[in-house]
Symmetry: C2
Subunit: 212 residues, 2 copies
């Protein structure tokens, strides 16, 4: 019971690694079952379809991610009476769980980041998954609007979207700039990446408003 993974878990683990490295569309059910050492019927028996495998793989990761983000936001909110949270702290609460923290090893972080990066690079395959983020997005929007009361609803939405863009490209691996960064500095330092991203985004949020 303890040492032997059940079929469902074996499928999820294999699918996650393959989705993370090759992407979803490029991963066939047959490569999954080969890696999981499982029969192809097991996938349809336990999940019903490839789409539901995708959903299950992402849900398994998104649930704890949402928890982490909410915990950090909660901590800032309960502290708010004595010391109001800064924009940087809220942005950090949003980015840290996905970019650096809450991982037991380098390998696991690579895998999670690789997986999440495909949320942006294969929108069609994961469109049905994005809703799992909705509630958390709302809460972070609210927290930001509290300490940036001069920003209109539209201002906030746009800047929030830009933040997602920065986060998204930070998780990508094979873009031109990312490649060059690896050439110049070797391995990516995710602690540094996190700080830089938070810094960049915070400046964007705190920029004065304009009339558009």
């Amino acid at each position: 019971m303890a040492s032997k993974k059940d079929t469902k878990t074996k499928i999820l683990d294999a699918a996650e690694e393959l989705f993370s490295t090759q992407g979803i569309g490029a991963t066939s059910l047959r490569t999954i079952i080969a890696k999981a050492d499982v029969n192809i019927a097991a996938i349809h028996y336990h999940f019903g379809s490839k789409k539901e495998v995708v959903t299950a793989v992402y849900a398994r990761r998104i649930t704890p991610l949402n928890q982490q983000r909410l915990e950090r936001l909660e901590a800032l909110n309960t502290r708010a009476a004595e010391k109001a949270p800064t924009v940087a702290e809220i942005v950090d609460a949003f980015l840290a769980p996905i970019l650096n923290c809450s991982f037991s090893s380098k390998k696991e972080r690579e895998r999670a980041i690789g997986l999440f990066s495909h949320l942006h690079t294969e929108p069609q395959e994961v469109a049905h998954v994005l809703d799992l983020f909705k509630d958390v997005f709302e809460l972070f929007m609210m927290a930001l609007s509290k300490i940036l009361p001069h920003l209109s609803k539209a201002d906030l939405l746009w800047r929030f979207m830009f933040m997602i863009g920065v986060m998204s490209i930070s998780m990508s691996n094979d873009h031109l700039v990312h490649r060059k960064l690896r050439e110049n500095g070797g391995e990516i330092n995710y602690q540094e990446l996190l700080q830089r991203a938070v810094h960049f985004i915070t400046a964007g949020f705190e920029a004065p408003t304009l009339d558009y």
Copy 2:
């Protein structure tokens, strides 16, 4: 001769529209030839493979885009003696040609933006295309380093990457925030989007340096 498009152009036009709306991986050669009203062998006769169709479609768009960007950067550089370019101006020179300007109609802008958005959402399919941007990237990096001399090479690279992220998400259509933006404000105003993106990114570039 004047009214009749040749086969090569018909293929490119059909492929561009399909890539733009459905993505590259989701577009089969058969849907292309159906739209172009052309025989399937014509694709391999004129291009050799699907990969080269992709290359040709993107090259046709990237070449004038690079020109536009360089023209604008050139204009700022020749003016530099009397008035040094601002960060906002350089960022605008980078973003305007792809987000708003240099399009003869809404339809054409939609199509171009849709096409370019897949440069970020289907990296595997277009990896061989990204090199076409390399030289222009270098020049903009240089221009930015001149007016932001306190930024290290690494600082610049990271922030440049973040800019690409903001640009990328701005071209996306089906992300959570983008959807909400359409709900709230109806049609996307690309002039406003451009100004907001430039504003956000400029703040990020001009943020003080940190020790990481």
